[in-house]
């Protein structure tokens, strides 16, 4: 193996010569059996030219670069690497020479071990997964403003889009809330497509959602999803509208209908003039199918022979735009809701419209209105979070109310007004100027006096006294919760939910439009309450993400671990551990290789290389050691042995190649000194570490062990840090049983915390050394695992 390697030794222009004896290093590496080429500097023009030559000489030799860190190599040789150069890197600069003192012998020994580990234990080179074209079609679930905007944007980009809405009418809440922040006009505007003039188009007008690429499924629900990311098959169930396109909007059917729904809102055949296309629909939950409407219809547009339809459509990607709902009544029961004189802001929006109609009466319908902000929100027993929208909604209504009826007293009880930005603040100012009273203080409950008039007791925090308000009307600014069906739809789509039940974003900062399920995206309030502006912005973002996903031809170079059928017992541990759902259990072929004595019906784990991101968590968890990661146990343990064996009180560090790796290589550039007893092993992710590796490090004589991964809960592979924590707990337990107090620490580091690396290492080394000395002095310590575990 080593003969097939060529070591490229770099002196980095003499910057490492103070503590590394390159002559000795070269001699020792040559003794490994491969060719060694030593240069004063490899990244200069001459070195680069030689490297290009080596890359193309066709010898198939593995090139091991011994010099600076992987990050520096990637930067210095970026041109050659982009042309296909593959270099294995042994970092003797940032990870050795630059961070250690002048003990030339010790530092040279460490550099040799680092180079030797890279030469002797190569990592299987990852290969690109198979490229398969994705179906050029998207299913958007939810026809609120976010869903419509995403769908029209994607249609405009040339993709086929199926927009699936549960209700007969599109628009969701936007058309129901009157005028809206921040533009003070109606909430249902959409951007125009190229073929249309103007910059916005009204949802109430037909053409707003017209596009040849866009198919709209009203009254339809996603029943199930099968297939793989990029080629989903989506089953839809669509209820009939009963009212056909022949309808002339005369409304005679509604007059004839004898049935009113249980909430008294509308008849069993009804109209909502929200999206221009469908104006009338039959409420199938309440209709008694008496036929009165059909008889009354002058154009025979009511067809009761229609029946539910099932459809299966193919899609490359799915967008969850299921929206949010106002908090349920039980969240605000303590505030007297529901009652005649206690409304939510959504209900109040409709009431304001109604009042506006009756403005000619010239008498305010109410004398005093109290609005209660954070109603049921920011409360650990109800909704613990802030819904972001309620403050601006209340401001809008308060201003409008004062403008309609200047005699009406409006008091807003608030805790904090969250009206961010230039627009938001100007609304707040406008409300104060309009004469709205702002009272800082949150009422614990709303009660009613003998005349059924609401009584609100509240501490006026600003004035430092308790006040009793007796308004005619209380309006609750309730928070928002995930739409009723979010849990089911997320389950069908395989997307995770956050703790509040919204669809969780894949990464809150960088991948807010993607979900935990590959090929499933999220938009709008489905991932948390959002204003119309935010919905519109995210619709464009999501559409761009989906477009990128559908048109992408490259696949990440992830070498999926391989399951050894001769060892796998189908125990299901890996499927539970995989953060991406790439592992699953399948039936074993009857005549295949299998472990001896395995039950007949035992299954076999398989890893889907198109979903796998190659973190190695499955391999760390497999109790049968049946999963071989590209950095397999043999290589990993071999590297640890090469670095550690025979060293004086070594401290072994497993460092992930992401955030912590960056912190370490940046710390190296800072030249933070730490003892050369530190031995670093780089991993793709901390999740690759198993208790076995930790125990082996201790058995080989490690005086201390640390695992450095990404910042808290920011693992690039979602759960590598938790996996590592579990493995540490197991290792500690086993070591504790053996009475071996070797310290094992887990560090969360991001690149910004590079300045802490040196300090952490110095402290740990001092601690580990002290402990080791105490142990050695107290007894003749038997290393853990020297017995059975070493087998």
């Amino acid at each position: 193996m080593t003969a097939a390697s060529r070591v490229l030794l770099c002196e980095c222009a003499g910057t490492m010569s103070a503590n590394i004896d390159f002559g000795a290093l070269e001699k020792s590496l040559a003794a490994e059996g491969g060719a060694v080429e030593r240069r004063r500097v490899w990244c200069g023009a001459e070195g680069q030219a030689r490297l290009a030559e080596l890359a193309e000489d066709g010898s198939g030799q593995r090139l091991v670069f011994v010099g600076c860190s992987g990050d520096s190599v990637a930067q210095r040789f970026s041109r050659l690497i982009s042309q296909g150069l593959e270099l294995a890197v042994a970092d003797v600069r940032e990870g050795c020479a630059w961070v250690h003192g002048d003990d030339r012998v010790a530092v040279t020994d460490k550099a040799l071990r680092i180079a030797r580990a890279a030469v002797r234990f190569p990592v299987t080179s990852p290969r690109a997964a198979e490229v398969r074209a994705r179906v050029d079609s998207v299913v958007v679930v939810g026809g609120g403003v976010a869903g419509i905007a995403t769908a029209t944007e994607l249609a405009r980009m040339g993709h086929h889009v199926d927009l699936v809405e549960r209700q007969p009418f599109l628009g969701g809440y936007a058309p129901r809330i009157g005028t809206a922040y921040p533009t003070n006009d109606c909430g249902a505007c959409l951007p125009t497509i190229e073929e249309q003039s103007g910059i916005r188009k009204c949802l109430y007008r037909n053409a707003a959602v017209d596009h040849p690429n866009l198919a709209i499924w009203r009254r339809a629900e996603v029943e199930s999803v099968s297939g793989d990311p990029g080629e989903f098959e989506v089953s839809l169930r669509q209820l009939p509208n009963m009212v056909t396109q022949d309808c002339v909007d005369c409304g005679l059917c509604e007059k004839a209908c004898p049935v009113t729904g249980p909430d008294g809102e509308h008849k069993a055949i009804y109209s909502e003039v929200f999206d221009g296309r469908v104006r009338w629909a039959v409420d199938l939950d309440n209709c008694t199918f008496c036929g009165a409407c059909a008889e009354a219809c002058p154009v025979e547009a009511i067809d009761f022979t229609q029946s539910p339809k099932l459809a299966r459509i193919r899609a490359g990607a799915i967008v969850a735009a299921t929206g949010c709902d106002p908090a349920p009544p039980e969240m605000v029961a303590h505030l007297g809701y529901p009652a005649e004189s206690v409304l939510t802001q959504i209900e109040f929006a409709l009431l304001l419209d109604d009042w506006e109609e009756r403005l000619w009466l010239d008498k305010p319908p109410v004398g005093e209105v109290v609005m209660i902000q954070c109603a049921g929100s920011r409360d650990l027993r109800r909704l613990p979070y802030c819904s972001r929208l309620c403050c601006t909604i209340a401001l809008k209504h308060a201003i409008r109310l004062r403008e309609l009826f200047p005699q009406t007293r409006v008091t807003v009880c608030y805790l904090e007004l969250r009206t961010l930005g230039v627009e938001g603040e100007s609304w707040y100012t406008a409300a104060r100027l309009a004469g709205v009273e702002f009272l800082r203080g949150s009422p614990p409950r709303v009660e009613f006096d003998a005349d059924k008039r609401p009584v609100v007791e509240v501490e006026d925090v600003g004035a430092g006294r308790k006040r009793t308000l007796r308004p005619d009307l209380v309006v609750l600014s309730t928070g928002f919760v995930p739409a009723a069906d979010t849990g089911r739809i997320a389950g069908v789509l395989g997307a995770r939910l956050d703790e509040a039940g919204f669809v969780a974003a894949l990464d809150a900062k960088n991948r807010a439009s993607e979900t935990s399920a590959e090929g499933v995206f999220v938009c709008g309030s489905a991932s948390g309450p959002k204003s119309l502006v935010e919905c519109s912005i995210q619709a464009s973002a999501t559409a761009a993400q989906v477009h990128g996903y559908l048109t992408s031809t490259g696949r990440r170079r992830a070498a999926a671990p391989v399951v050894d059928a001769a060892r796998c017992v189908g125990c299901d541990v890996c499927t539970g551990a995989c953060p991406f759902g790439a592992t699953s259990l399948v039936e074993r072929a009857g005549d295949g290789i299998r472990p001896a004595g395995l039950r007949d019906d035992a299954k076999l784990a398989v890893i889907d290389e198109r979903v796998c991101r190659s973190c190695g968590i499955c391999a760390a968890h497999c109790p049968e050691l049946a999963i071989a990661h590209s950095l397999d146990d043999e290589t990993l343990l071999g590297r640890v042995r090469t670095l550690v064996e025979g060293a004086d009180h070594p401290v072994v560090g497993f460092v992930c190649a992401e955030c912590a790796g960056a912190a370490f290589s940046l710390a190296g550039l800072r030249r933070d000194r730490y003892p050369e007893s530190v031995r670093l092993v780089e991993l793709p992710c901390l999740g690759r570490v198993s208790a076995l590796h930790l125990l082996e490090a201790v058995r080989l004589g490690a005086a201390g062990v640390f695992l450095a991964g990404c910042a808290e809960e920011r693992c690039h592979y979602r759960s590598g840090d938790q996996s590592a924590a579990e493995q540490i707990a197991v290792a500690r337990e086993l070591l504790g049983e053996a009475g071996n107090p070797v310290p094992i620490e887990q560090w969360h580091l991001c690149a910004a915390e590079r300045h802490t690396v040196g300090r952490r290492l110095r402290t740990l080394c001092a601690h580990a050394e002290k402990l080791a000395e105490v142990n050695e002095a107290s007894d003749e310590l038997v290393p853990v695992g020297s017995g059975e575990e070493s087998s």
């Binding site: 409360d379 949150s442 006096d449 925090v461 430092g464």
Partner: protein, 381 residues
């Protein structure tokens, strides 16, 4: 304070602050507090002072002594801060470090003085309890214990009830009921009319409030007991004894038997002070009014009608709220009816301040079972 005491007080306040870190300063605690209107600053500001580490501000804060430990603040806190416990700890802080500024010590001094001349209640009995529990300046201990002995002698002359039997319900009224034979008689006869046998633990003594002492062992052994005082409820709950309010037992008995009630007056003003189950108690009073065919007047000047004045276990005069309530009852020509023994006495004290009398009745004094033959529950007052 000595430097050591200052340091101790500071670290005690730091520990308090640790426990109210989540506080949003929303003011729901004060809004929910039956004493909220009477307070100068309220629990929210007490927490603010603790968070700011203002030892002097906390030691000088009088509002903590207005707390009747009804727990309304703790129950309403959206951030689950135990506000009532905070208030209690600040009281302890004042006892420990507040010196002459501590009003409890002052109140105990007053109570000890009163004990020498008075043998009726009005909360003085609580003063006696406090005196015997050590919340008095040393020089007044003798006088206080003399007063306590006088009350004890008085109690010995009061006719005793039989011990509770298996059939009877164990009823415990702490220090209050024993001292008023008339109240005791009407309570027991009201219960008897509703076929409810109340048995009393003889010589049980004080419930332990407000000195945070243990309640009588016989009650702890009994495990559950009927009470008519929130102070008793609190002490007993701390010792793991389940309590049922008397008003609930009586109302249940009436309802179970489908009995009509008779009332002393055709209309009354219900008052429930700081009772933890305020809504429930008010609802049961309204139910009793309906059974008796009398009117319950609830158009109060303010919603909770505040605390009766039995603050922190020491009666220090009526609260503004109760004075307003008495005026309101006088204007309505209706007596005040309460399901709490403490409230009844303290409201009576407040009523004595105005020339035209307003009566305050305990639930079983005001209501009793109507004669079986009687169709209507009218007034016989």
């Amino acid at each position: 304070m000595t430097a050591v005491a200052t340091e101790k007080a500071r670290s005690a306040v730091a520990a308090l602050a640790e426990r109210c870190r989540p506080c949003l300063q929303c003011g729901q605690c004060r809004a929910a507090c039956p004493q909220g209107l009477d307070m100068a600053e309220g629990p929210r500001r007490v927490i603010r002072l603790a968070l700011a580490g203002d030892v002097d501000g906390l030691l000088g804060c009088q509002d903590v002594w207005r707390c009747s430990e009804c727990n309304a603040c703790t129950k309403t806190c959206p951030m689950e801060v135990d506000v009532a416990a905070m208030m209690a700890e600040v009281r302890q802080l004042q006892r420990d470090f507040g010196g002459p500024r501590c009003p409890e010590r002052g109140a105990a001094r007053v109570a000890a003085g009163l004990l020498r001349h008075t043998k009726t209640v009005d909360g003085v009995a609580f003063g006696a309890v406090m005196a015997t529990r050590g919340f008095v300046p040393h020089d007044l201990v003798d006088a206080a214990s003399q007063g306590a002995h006088r009350i004890a002698r008085h109690l010995r002359r009061t006719p005793r009830l039989a011990s509770p039997t298996n059939e009877s319900t164990l009823f415990y009224a702490g220090c209050a009921l024993d001292q008023d034979p008339a109240l005791k008689k009407s309570t027991l006869s009201c219960a008897a009319d509703l076929d409810l046998a109340l048995g009393e633990p003889i010589g049980a003594g004080c419930c332990g409030h407000p000195a945070a002492a243990s309640p009588p062992a016989c009650l702890v052994a009994a495990g559950s007991v009927v009470t008519a005082c929130p102070a008793c409820d609190r002490s007993l709950a701390a010792a793991g004894v389940a309590t049922t309010p008397l008003w609930q037992v009586l109302a249940d008995a009436a309802r179970r038997q489908g009995r009509k009630l008779a009332a002393r007056a055709p209309r009354f003003v219900p008052y429930v002070g700081c009772l933890v189950d305020r809504d429930e108690a008010l609802a049961r009073l309204a139910e009793a009014a309906e059974l008796a065919g009398v009117e319950s007047v609830t158009t109060y000047p303010s919603l909770h009608a505040g605390c009766c004045g039995g603050l922190g276990g020491v009666y220090r005069g009526p609260s503004e709220e109760v004075l307003a309530l008495v005026e309101f009852a006088a204007a309505e020509h209706a007596p005040i009816v309460t399901p709490c023994l403490l409230c009844r006495d303290n409201v009576r004290s407040a009523a004595r301040r105005r020339p035209a009398g307003v009566t305050a009745w305990f639930w079983p004094e005001f209501f009793r079972a109507a004669p079986e033959t009687s169709e209507q529950g009218g007034s016989d007052a």
